[in-house]
Symmetry: C2
Subunit: 139 residues, 2 copies
């Protein structure tokens, strides 16, 4: 039986979302993760660090990649198998980040790999890596 | 100059946190990530899937690992460089997960790698992978 879902995705196909990082996203992420590090939450403390201001939790960013994979490309029904993450630069409150996924390889058993990137609007890469997913089958 | 921070961490040293996954954690994660996939949010829809009930966003789990690395071991001042993630099994609302980090290697330039694991209380591994961080220097 032909796996028709594979017709939907080809190498180079991509999807993007743009998100502005807010203080309340960081506060909610602290609540979920239990990471109340003051560099994320305390303006005064953060001003004394190398960053000079509060930074977002790095692990907030892969959530944005997950959202594209699960909602846009491949879309609903996608099963997330693996993700590699390399953090490159801090993200500050008010930064707009462009989150991109681009199909790298279409593999056996409906598996597809994606290049995954998060960049600031000035082009600075803040995170990159690769995802491996199982694409949903068409019904 | 000797890097005294490395004295604090040795191979095999580990830290754990236990967290019970709640509906509000999942709702908050949806809000942050923009991932409103009904398998995470809609009881009726989720009942019709292979999972039979709502599941947590997979990417919620690495946030728990991040919290241990940044708060417990190595602790405040840690800089997160890399993380690999392999998702193994779904996590349901009410599941208690045990999140573990264990020092794998102490490397040059204050870098340390950790085995990172998330398991259910019955021992089922739901996520594993490795982290690479820069340890904080003692002041």
């Amino acid at each position: 039986m032909q796996d028709t879902s594979l017709k939907k995705i080809s190498v180079g196909q991509s999807s993007q979302r743009s998100t502005t990082i807010t203080s309340s996203m960081i506060e909610d992420f602290a609540k979920i993760s239990g990471d109340y590090n003051p560099v994320h939450l305390d303006d005064e403390y953060a001003a004394s660090t190398r960053f000079g201001q509060r930074i977002a939790h790095g692990m907030l960013l892969p959530g944005l990649i997950s959202a594209i994979l699960a909602n846009d490309l491949p879309g609903p029904g996608t099963i997330y198998l693996e993700q590699t993450i390399s953090f490159k630069a801090p993200v500050f409150i008010g930064d707009t980040v462009i989150v991109s996924v681009e199909c790298k390889e279409v593999l056996e058993k409906s598996r597809v790999s994606f290049k995954t990137t998060v960049a600031k609007s000035d082009g600075t890469i803040v995170m990159d890596g690769e995802a491996l997913v199982i694409t949903p089958l068409l019904k």
